[in-house]
Structures are given as structure tokens and as C-alpha cells.
Symmetry: none
Subunit: 186 residues, 2 copies
């Protein structure tokens, strides 16, 4: 493998998983750790901790600068174990090309992500869900999902989260999620 190829692969790998350490990269690319570090230097890729810091700052800024009605990012408001709001714009790649209607799983994914994000626990996984697609969502529409934590069992229990998704003022989706939460590491 040439240097160019390796650096290409390095970029891809780190892009696919930014939490990878140099040591893990040596195993994947079969070169010494010094080479990895020279490559990162040449490519301008910061070290793991710096990458995590940048991501953390970015998300922190996002949640901080909560623009009341402006549409910017994904999660615009998050009160752990209480509520959250996320915004998702339906684009080309989310719709059936035939009719411009959003595929259900994108609308679900937004709600599911939010339901999981709002639960303040190391591990939060969806256990079950009861969902209803109230009306079709079309290309270009902005889905505003609002989550409310309804009940919250102690650590290691289950939480119930209701999510309502609106386009402007109109309800397009509703879901009742049971989220499994646990601090255990299995």
C-alpha cells in the first residue's frame, strides 16, 4: 500500500470512527505508531483528545446558543430526563423519489434519536415503541420533534418518552417510546 493510499484509508477510518486511538490505527493499517502520527501531522488531523474536545465544544455551543425559532441544528434544546427538541429537514435523500414523500424511518429515526438522547444514562436503548404517522411529510418540510419524559424508573429501569413531531403547527407523527436505561456495562 502506498503512502497516499494509506493516508486515504486513515482519513476514512478516522472519519468513520473519530474515537479511534493511534494505537488502534497501527493495528488496522499495519504500520508503526510513528508513521500514523506523521500521517496525522501531514493531514492536519488532531489527536484523539483534541477531536473529542472539538466535538464536545461544538455540541455544547449548539445547545447553548438556543435560537428560539430559528432552524439551525439538530437538537436545539435538551433538558436531560425531562424534555428535548430536535429539528430535521426533509431533503432529497430522505424521500421516495417517486412522490417526494418522506420515508417513514427517517421520521422515526429523528423521534427515536431524540427519545434516546433525552435520557440521561450511560446506556439508553429503545425497548419498544408505539408509533403513528399522522400525515405524510414532504420534501423540504422541517420536522420539529418534541420529546417529553413521562415516567422514569430508577437506574436500570425503563423510561417512557412521548414524542410529537410537527411541521409548523401540524402534527405529523406521534410515538410512545419505552427506553431501557442502564448504567451496567453488561
Amino acid at each position: 500500500m502506498s503512502k497516499k493510499e494509506r493516508q486515504q484509508k486513515l482519513l476514512q477510518t478516522i472519519d468513520g470512527n473519530p474515537f479511534v486511538t493511534d494505537r488502534e490505527l497501527t493495528r488496522q493499517l499495519k504500520v508503526s505508531i510513528q508513521t500514523i502520527r506523521l500521517d496525522r501531522l501531514e493531514l492536519g488531523i488532531p489527536e484523539l483528545r483534541e477531536r473529542m474536545k472539538l466535538m464536545a465544544e461544538h455540541s455544547y455551543d449548539q445547545v447553548r446558543s438556543l435560537p428560539p425559532d430559528e432552524i439551525v441544528g439538530d437538537i436545539v434544546d435538551l433538558q436531560l430526563d425531562k424534555s428535548g427538541i430536535s429539528i430535521f429537514e426533509i431533503r432529497e435523500e430522505h424521500v421516495f423519489s417517486r412522490n417526494g414523500i418522506a420515508r417513514g424511518h427517517y421520521v422515526f429515526a429523528q423521534a427515536n434519536s431524540l427519545a434516546v438522547a433525552v435520557i440521561n444514562d450511560e446506556i439508553a436503548l429503545t425497548a419498544s415503541a408505539d408509533i403513528r404517522f399522522v400525515r405524510m411529510v414532504r420534501l423540504g418540510e422541517k420536522c420539529i420533534a418534541k420529546a417529553q419524559v413521562r415516567s422514569l424508573a430508577g437506574r436500570g429501569g425503563k423510561a417512557e418518552v412521548d414524542v410529537f413531531t410537527y411541521v409548523v403547527e401540524e402534527l405529523v407523527f406521534q410515538g410512545h417510546f419505552v427506553v431501557y436505561r442502564s448504567a451496567v456495562e453488561e
Copy 2:
């Protein structure tokens, strides 16, 4: 200032700025660094790097939405209006970085895609669904989703599709989908 008061202030300070180091905290609270660390220990506040890592993972997991693929999973068998089988392998990009467990919406997306694909109609949209994540799916596992059409109203009506997803022989997901079908172009 009492211990309680100080710990209260510590919580507030870190909450207000999670990127603060212990050294900076000593300056603000006028106690030794050991006291700061004992306080963090008692309050269960992780160290700066761990805090940043958690934030980064949280936002990263959140940001990762579904791939812009038309259909999630490979459909390997399809008998329109009857049944279908799709295979989907859980890879890096589908799991929570922290624990390698698949995000629920991918498993849902596979089932949803299949439920829609199995309906032989110009437009087929998910109307509602009742789903259950039976067990967690892990990195590298192959999900085999099997769909069965249960009932089929005439054109313009609703169809009911059951999807069961397995890893090897083990059931990991089950869902009952109500799919809206229509030849109308609205």
C-alpha cells in the same frame, strides 16, 4: 464557606462551564486541588476529559442519521403482497460508539423498508407500527428480517405486515406495521 456550600458551587461552576480544569477550580473556590478532587469524587463528577468524551459521544451518536440509501438492508427474496426477506449487517456506523450496540432506528429502518417494499403498490407508506426490540443487536451481527403480509385491503386501503428480525436463529426485533397503500397521486 461550608463543605456543602462549596460542593454546591462546584456543581454550578462545572455545569456552567464543563470545560473547566481542576486547577482552574482551585482558583475559583480557594481550596486545594485535592479538595476539588475529593469533592468531584463525592459528587460523582467525572474528570474533564471524561466529560468531554461523554459530550462528544452524545453529540456524535445524535448526529449520525440514517444513510441516504433508498432501502436499508438487502432484499434477497420478495413475493409481492405475500412475504419478503432482507439482510442487513450491523457495521461501525450503525452502533453507539460507546458500547457497540446498534441504534434502534437502523433495525427499525430495515423492517420498515421491507414492510413497504413487500406491498405491491405505487405508493406504500407506513401509517403506524407497533414494535418491540427483543434483544440488543451488536456490531458485526447480521439481521435477517422476514416479512409476512397478514391482511390486504383493496386498492387504496391498508395492509398489515408483520416483520420478525433474527440474528442467526434468535429473534431480536418484531414489528406489526400498518401500511397505507394507494395508487392515487394525490
